[in-house]
Symmetry: C2
Subunit: 574 residues, 2 copies
């Protein structure tokens, strides 16, 4: 018999590494220790199981060729032993053994290893508030809980759901409750935006509006103070502002690395509690590897370690761990934090750094926005999409891209291309000439990713001067905040006139784009002209022209009305 | 008045450069000389206009905000003068003038320039066969021809259409004829495959099958010998094998650079007739720039110049020319040959080099194939997609990627990410860990692009031994060609049994994947086992296992039955 390889954890990274190492080293004795009886599942599919898109939980545990990945499957097809229902209690690094306990019987034994891998994943963070132990409070941390949630809904026990936390999992669960089951659903988020730390505020605002348009209540800046119960069961969630009725409360307040066994074994641990590994997924003990949601990884933009608990990374890390345990020195260099999410009819994606994150990291960061057609504007299926590009003014490097548009793979295409390019250090100039495959049903001759790079380049070179969407919105709330501003709306008159009528010509002027060259002398020279169009593109052209005729006091609203109205402003007309 | 900038050509690169340079240098006097009266249009949209997806040709000449880009638009909105209906006859580089002629009146004049740009585009290649001047023979070279074609169809004058040439434009036109108008349509291609030089044979075969499934006749290896006419009108197309009835014949046999004016002016020209430019789009005369379909560009994989007449590149090159004419030293480093096409319900895409091209270039090239789910296999909208990755065994660099799958943006997403990564020199190992944005509605935890990289890596490292789809198909035609081969079908018995029944157990054995470890001793040791599954993934696992138990004579069918049956083999069952 060959090397004894023991892997603690059987959800994603663990099984991936086990199968890979066995394939490379058929004489190895590979054992997975898993405390649960349900394992090797697609945890990211849980919201779709609850929503009913996936009808049976066994589908989440099946291969693409429809075999359930149970103990027999691993033994017969993969040659990998699974000790399920078995908890790993402690690692003895000197003796090279793992003490395990059968969860049902309490029986303990020692499992010897030559090489060990820790793939213990993450655990949900539970808010320290009263009521979290009430019946009806759930986390989305394993399949049993998902089955129980779906069962309660299907039995008609859930009329009101509250999701605590507006991260990706929380929002996906909210959609699941509302979309299939018609449950009255509320999302409560402590931060001033949903998807905090993932997208910037304008993108979060567009998604919030879409959630609300689909009758999901979203309360921002509201912390959950207490889960209210009656007779041991949840009846509501109390915040500082209100109490919301609830038969079910989903705690979707993030996850933390599950690293206790590594801590106890004296392995090196990061300040936030993740296991420290090198590029070969090796911990501070060369005989022990780790991968998945329990480790920290290198951020390919910042060059700093960060915590990225994602199923897609867990699988890649697991494969690299498997390689190395078999003696193939492959490496996992890091991650860039790519993100994509469906919400009802839209999708939102991001890669790299947000503007907030880039500024916090100390970059000389700025952001370009645009909202063009996602494919040839004459092609019938075209739609407006919104993109931003965060870049560093000093190095011209692109730091991050975010996108928002109709559901489909169009946003993915740009986010994925951007992720590949950014991870290789691409600049805004590289993005300007990036060759996106072109035909009218798929893209525009100047793809959105090129278009946003052009905006970034014009900004970086000082040719484009803009105001942010936030500043513009603040001014719309209080015109006196910028007393010299006046909008110059260059859209068609039929689009612009209602705004002139509503706000008055001293706040909102309309001169169509194609008439500016002839009529610019009508414009006030003692005001700051806030140039407005659909996406910001025409506005930049007009700014360039006005500069040349001594009207230098102009600012472009980057992203334009296409973005503003998707953010849900109440003053938008038409 | 500022610099005089004259641009010859008003379709794509010309207008883009004109608008850009004017924006950067508002005092410049920018003039476009265009022989046609219809200009600044999306030529790639012509098939969709003929198909009816685009109802009016003016949409192809409009901006995304619905203004027609005519002479007035350019003058008023862009500050650019268009001399339309005016042909550029000759360039006098010493005097810095262009001799032009009004097409209608024949009147000539000299237009002086400080900086000149040539954006004369391409001209269709016309086969030197009898009958090309008959009424009813068309190229897809300008809007007038497109209008005339659509008019004839709409008036019921077209029952039978023949497209000569199975390149992208020819196939898009064939779909247009068939899909909306129900015209009996035939594609005749001289080469042994459609999309020659763009995709490799297996991908061409899958598309050919789909075209035929949609009732477009496709004849390969058939040159057009003569266009047959009666009373001056087309009635058919004759090949060596047959005469096909036709009321209309579309010559879609490729394009050549339109560079006569540059040749006559003594500018440097490539062997195939394209204008030679540097990265700043400057010709051998520093006062003359060129961009678009009349130039050659650097191939970012081979490092050699090539001809890439694409609207998307023309726009990018035009912008770079505009920058440089305005004194901004931006560069266009080259292209990678990205390609995407819709055909009925599928799409096909490619970037970088095909296997044929890579071998012709002298790379130590090999190709990996796979056919997995395009998103989480448990998500309801998942579909099988087919991908290949061409790589260099010596440097491990990825040279090209091709994809085939259902219509949508999913193939684009992978092709675009691959284009970005390849253009930065990414290796198969980089592709293995490329972070594609993951959620079940968009991708699998191990994205197809990662999956195909894994296959490439296993191949490159000698762990995976395969046979090609072509070799396998040849054996299926003639079992004696490889007398020692026997298929080992490891799919579910319900899938495999009909094949065993049809071909006999001496040609087609079935042992399910999950039973091989227990039953491998049943397998013949004196044969070469051709391991078969859906995509090739399970086959590789089984090959690895069989190697370890002294069954080394195995080959995997890379791409598996998912690809084989999409190629339209007649022996496929179920």
């Amino acid at each position: 018999m060959g090397k004894k390889i023991v892997i603690i954890g059987g959800v994603a990274a663990g099984p991936k590494a086990a199968c890979r190492v066995k394939r490379l080293m058929q004489d190895a004795e590979v054992t997975i220790i898993e405390q649960d009886t349900l394992f090797s599942y697609g945890g990211c599919g849980i919201p779709y199981y609850v929503a009913g898109d996936v009808s049976d939980e066994a589908e989440l545990r099946s291969t693409s060729f429809h075999m359930v990945r149970n103990e027999d499957f691993f033994e017969n097809a993969k040659g990998v032993m699974i000790m399920s229902g078995t908890r790993a209690m402690a690692i003895d690094r000197k003796k090279k053994t793992v003490k395990v306990q059968n969860v049902a019987s309490g029986e303990e034994q020692e499992v010897p290893y030559d090489t060990l891998m820790i793939a213990t994943g993450s655990k949900p963070f539970i808010l320290p508030i009263p009521g979290v132990d009430l019946d009806g409070v759930f986390t989305i941390s394993d399949l049993h809980k998902a089955i129980e949630i779906k069962d309660r809904i299907a039995r008609g026990k859930v009329d009101n759901a509250v999701v605590v936390g507006g991260g990706a999992t929380g929002l996906e669960m909210a959609e699941a409750f509302k979309d299939l089951w018609g449950v009255k659903t509320t999302v409560v988020e402590f931060m001033p935006q949903i998807l905090p730390g993932i997208v910037d505020k304008p993108f979060a605002a567009m998604l919030t509006k879409h959630m609300r348009d689909n009758e999901v209540d979203v309360f921002l800046n509201e912390g959950a103070a207490e889960i209210v119960g009656e007779a041991g069961k949840v009846v509501g969630l109390r915040t500082a502002n209100r109490t919301i009725a609830a038969d079910i409360v989903i705690m979707a307040t993030g996850v933390r690395p599950r690293s206790e066994i590594a801590v106890d074994a004296g392995l090196q641990i990061s300040p936030m509690g993740a296991i420290v590994v090198n590029e070969r997924m090796q911990t501070s003990d060369p005989s022990i590897y780790a991968a998945g949601d329990c480790i920290e990884v290198m951020h390919l933009v910042t060059g700093k370690k960060f915590y990225a608990p994602l199923g897609s990374l867990a699988n890649k890390e697991g494969r690299v761990a498997g390689d190395n345990m078999a003696g193939i020195p492959s490496t996992f260099k890091g991650a860039i934090g790519s993100f994509i999410m469906k919400a009802f009819d839209v999708c939102i994606g991001a890669t790299g750094l947000s503007l907030d994150a880039a500024l916090a990291e100390g970059y000389d960061a700025d952001v370009a926005l645009t909202a063009p057609s996602d494919r040839a504007h004459f092609f019938p299926t075209e739609s407006i999409v919104c993109f931003q590009m965060v870049f560093d003014r000093r190095t011209r490097k692109v730091l991050g891209v975010q996108g928002f548009g109709p559901m489909g793979d169009g946003i993915s295409a740009r986010i994925d291309a951007a992720a590949a390019y950014i991870s290789m250090g691409a600049s805004i100039d590289d993005f300007g000439t990036l060759e996106m495959a072109y035909a009218p049903p798929f893209s525009a001759a100047i793809d959105t990713i090129n278009a946003i790079a052009y905006v970034a380049e014009n900004l970086c070179d000082g040719r484009l001067r803009k105001t942010s969407l936030e500043s513009f919105l603040a001014w719309m709330e209080d015109f006196e905040s910028e007393s010299e501003w006046v909008v110059l709306d260059i859209r068609h008159l039929i689009e612009a006139s209602p705004f002139v009528e509503k706000f008055g010509a001293e706040k909102w002027l309309a001169v169509p784009y194609s008439e500016i060259r002839a009529r610019y002398k009508e414009l006030p020279q003692d005001k700051i002209l806030i140039i407005m169009c659909g996406s910001g593109t025409r506005s930049f052209e007009i700014q360039s022209f006005l500069d040349s005729v001594d009207y230098p006091n102009t600012l472009v609203v980057s992203g334009g009305l296409n973005m503003l109205r998707r953010m849900g402003v109440d003053w938008y007309l038409g």
